[in-house]
Amino acid sequence: MNSPDADRNQTNQRNASIKVYMLGCVDFDSFLVLQEREFQQIRQQGTDQATLFVCEHPPLITVGREGSHAQLAQSSQEFKASQLEVRWINRGGGALLHAPGQLAVYPLLPLKQIGLGMDDFQNRLVQSLLEMSAEQGIAADQYPNSSDIFGRCGQFAFLGAAIKSWISYYGLYINVSPDMKLQRLIDANQHDHRLTSLSATLTREASMSSVRESIVRNLVQQFGYQQTHIFTRHPLLHRVKKKVYVHP
């Protein structure tokens, strides 16, 4: 593994491209199919070309490797009765409630090709979040020895990424302006920060499109990609309307 300086030089000099899919609201199963398909493509190509998925999800709880039952305010049966699915998945981070208003950002990066280790990858995700926060006018910080990003009102951004075959998948989540009643179904995180959103921190409605543009630009910059190809839909995704009833 290279030193951080060498990594920075390497990423700065690359002229590779990154595909960015801005997808709107995508159900989690469809996203998993897209992610796996893209992952296999990146693996087969063996180049430094990368993909970034940016979307929102219908209400759903996922629990990462650092999560526990203690984080869930209700039992699995109660969640099921509310038509709120709970899934235990192989990413870092704890329990998260995904819902419209929360931006999910999934960078699929060939880390070996771009010369980054696990901690370099983590640092660049955190830096992107901090820079995005600063651009939104929020003073944010990283809790020591953790990946939690918090502002004056609590935690609004979360890391939940994974790496296999030296390719990253899953990623990070930003509470822009989700229904905070739903967020209360997840207990406060391990450092007792309240869960909050950018809108609550700003005390005005945060702009989803502005946050989306900012985090994409910062991620692309942090990972040193020079050419960005932006798509606003994916050919494998079909637009459907689904009503979800949730009774918190």
Binding site: E66, G92, N145, L159, A161
Partner: protein, 91 residues
């Protein structure tokens, strides 16, 4: 001769790297490149792959254990067919 499953050089900073969980167990057959154990730093997991095909003979580090680059996570007894193939090549 068992082959070690080593912690790959995944981090350069002094932050703790932990074993998240084993995706296999002693006695199980694995193929080369199969994910066998997952490592964790805050917010990010890393899947360690089997260095060769064979049978897992031991898991040295349990979930939650702190590890560092080059440490032995477990051992794999390489498959007979691989050894046989090596033998044939030598002939």
């Amino acid at each position: 001769m068992p082959t070690p499953i080593l912690v790959p050089p995944v981090i350069s900073s002094p932050q703790p790297l932990k074993v998240s969980l084993w995706l296999t167990h002693a006695g199980e057959e694995v193929a080369s490149g199969d994910r066998v154990v997952e490592l964790l730093i805050p917010g990010v997991t890393f899947d360690v792959e089997a260095p060769c095909a064979g049978m897992i003979v031991s898991c040295e580090c349990q979930a939650g254990a702190e590890v560092s680059t080059g440490m032995v996570l477990g051992w794999i007894e390489p498959q007979d067919s691989e050894a046989a193939a090596d033998g044939n090549t030598e002939d």
